[in-house]
């Protein structure tokens, strides 16, 4: 029972999203338009990339709270480069290098130095955010080239943007990586049972470092899309995005203790997180409720999951100790 439920977690998340759409439409029929629906997806590109990146780390049983700050610093650097006449490849490369570097530092801190990931990435979160202020001098980065900001509004078909299509491709690629390649499977194995992973010859240190590097790279990629969509960068850009990214992972069925979940799930979770804001508008609620409602949904889902899982584990332990003393075992 439980297993089937867990396995189809992505489907449940998708059903939850559709349920939300139906309820909003019932309250406010004007929500049900092709444009408004596709925009729920188009708007989710930034969170999707952040969530998929963080998803790699969470699958290994660690956590990365620095992704919002990585988005901040890499978008500030990329935006400045573009504003000053740099080419797109230069800007993108700079951003990705920054993301990979912060991820590498995180990975070494957590996997090699064995610092708890929450503490270590909280540190890099602060450092990266501080770097944005230092780099920009606290000023906004504006006047970006129109070809760059316009890119976020180019459509592949109907109301669907090129950006979203690209992100979907990336998500699928990432999912194939973790479910179909042996290197990718290592992420899940390490999160599922780190000692077991060691025993079958997987190197957990290397695997975790890779997870953090990928997280950093995805966060900086998110930074580039963010810059194009918003059109300017402030020192606070991407602030507190990490919370939404992590929440998206959990909503999409990735277990915070690692080893369970899919990146596709995280991507669906990201759409849910983005849609909540949009839906509140259509429900006539102030966006002030945004964080509260997101928080409540998150808590309910996590509590329900934990209770179900703990039950299963406790029961299996009890079953084992009962079997141990079962009558036939006592024959000597």
């Amino acid at each position: 029972m439980l297993l089937k439920l867990l396995r189809r977690y992505e489907l449940k998340a998708l059903a939850f999203l559709l349920g939300m759409f139906v309820i909003v439409t019932a309250v406010n029929p004007s929500f049900m338009s092709a444009e408004s629906l596709t925009n729920c997806f188009n708007d989710s590109v930034v969170f999707t990339l952040l969530a998929v990146g963080a998803g790699f780390v969470i699958l290994t049983g660690e956590i990365d709270v620095s992704v919002g700050s990585v988005l901040g610093i890499s978008s500030a650097v990329a935006a400045t480069c573009l504003r000053d006449g740099g080419s797109l490849p230069t800007a993108v490369c700079l951003a990705l290098l920054i993301g990979a570097f912060v991820g590498l530092v995180n990975g070494i801190g957590v996997a090699v130095l064995k610092i708890p990931s929450l503490i270590f990435t909280l540190g890099t979160y602060g450092v990266a955010r501080g770097a944005v202020y230092v780099y920009t001098g606290g000023a906004w980065v504006e006047n970006l080239p129109a070809w760059f900001t316009g890119a976020s509004h180019s459509y592949i078909a109907g109301y669907l943007t090129w950006f979203y299509a690209g992100v979907v491709l990336l998500v699928v690629a990432a999912q194939i990586l973790i479910s179909c390649t042996h290197k990718g499977r290592n992420f899940i194995a390490v999160g599922d049972n780190i000692n077991g992973a060691r025993l079958v010859g997987i190197n957990p240190t290397q695997t975790k470092i890779w997870a953090f590097v990928l997280s950093g790279v995805f966060a900086s990629l998110a930074g580039i899309l963010f810059t194009s969509r918003i059109g300017f960068i402030t020192p606070m850009s991407g602030n507190s995005y990490e919370m939404k990214a992590i929440a998206a992972c959990v909503l999409g069925g990735i277990s915070l203790s690692g080893g369970l979940g899919t990146l596709v799930g995280a991507a669906i979770g990201a759409v849910i997180m983005t849609s909540i804001t949009r839906i509140l508008v259509f429900l006539g609620l102030s966006s002030n409720y945004d964080n509260t409602i997101t928080g409540i949904i998150l808590i309910v889902i996590v509590v329900v999951n934990t209770v179900i899982q703990d039950r299963a584990i406790l029961n299996s332990h009890r079953e084992i100790s009962l079997k141990r003393i079962a009558k036939e075992a006592f024959k000597e």
Partner: protein, 505 residues
Amino acid sequence: MAEEDLLLEARDVVKSFGLNLVLKGVTLTVHKGEVLSLIGGNGAGKSTLMKIIMGIYTADKGSLSICGQRLEGAITPSRAMKAGVYMVPQEPMIFPHMTVSDNVLMGFRGNKADLKKRLSEVYKEIGCTIDLSRLGMTLSIAEQQMVELLRGLMRQSRVLILDEPTSSLTFDEVQTLFKIIGDLKSKGIGIIYITHRMAEVFEISDTIGIMADGRITLNGPVSDFTREMLVNALLPETKKKEARERTPIEKKIRKAMPLIEFDHFSGYGFKDISFKVLEGEIVGIAGVVGAGRTEFATAVFGREKPLGGRVLLDGTDITGLSTKEVIRLGINYVPEDRHLNGLFGISPVASNITSALLNSKLTGKGGFLNQASENSIADRYIEDFRIKVTSRFQEAGSLSGGNQQKVVLARALATMPKVVILDEPTRGIDAAARGDVYGIIYKLREQGIAVILISSDIDEIIELSDRAVVFCQGRISAQFPRSKINQENLTAASFGVYKEDNHAA
């Protein structure tokens, strides 16, 4: 046997952890198609030896060759596996969220389809019946072991180490496992079989190795051994003589009043436990690790749900009460692992000693703590128990093991209990502190407290107990009065081979 049949050879392996010499020069060989049973008490060094063979620990001295290939330098688990050994650990390492086939194939490189094909061949070979698409978390221990065996066979291991594989299996599952072991044997795979169960040894092994105190004391074909020899060989050299005369103990059991009584008490991990403890009596509970003793204690203490039977304290039924209630009624439990369950490491010694009193005696007007009485209680125990501290404000975590144990004991006793359950009270503490702890336990007895002493150290049971109860696989296998508590009887009963008539052996 011929030289080319030699699969594994460990020669003069020495290993110490700190000052503790665990392996004192062990030599061990396994040949093709041989099942070697390795027997030994807790702490004899079996697990350490196996971990060295698997490359999890590095030996201080000695050499290791696997399949004729001598392994030099640092051995890692992946090197050992490549050379052809695989260990099925006592608690299998399963990925709970993965399917059976993913669990087996994890860590392999190469074409998935090829791997799957090989898996299905190996799977058929050993007659495995587990649905390959089931998730790891749904597997029973027996099935988890099957997965581990598959992992080993997929790696084309020539030597399989099975670490107490039957300790959590039912009878039928054990038979299935033995059949598979027979098949593997006929394919020329060598097996090291670690167990606590004498009967199994004679059922499946070709050779027997007995480990005691970091050495292999006896090694030879199974036909050279008898059950009695095994029990005898398990005793440390010095203890084979008559159990030493004990200090006067018997004199002081005052009233023959059962203070606490267990009546067919059952729970998760133990069943049908019936015995009584009198006022001022020490009852030792002996048995091997995993015999259900700790589970029994935690169930009495209200931490696990009981499944049947009764616990009577002073004649009143206290079965299934909460921990808080149980403490209030006068039972206290000092857990086995003081770091995990007992001590508040970064709090001062005084707060540790009085922490069990916070609900009652210490609380003064308006819910504030009465500092003066906290200090006086703490000082009394520090002096009584000879706890070595710089002051009562020293951090408890900075004390030595023995003194930490005294602090935990003091905390339990500060509640003025009628019954105390001590779970391995002297594990990992030095001889001097051990003497002090014994002194404390004797003092409890004089005060008329009923003491239930759980210990895997047979000497400790012999030294302290007025009566001994022996657990084996979750049940009581024997009970001994003071006069019959000795190494032979306790060892035999712990391994489930005690018979009324062989106690004189």
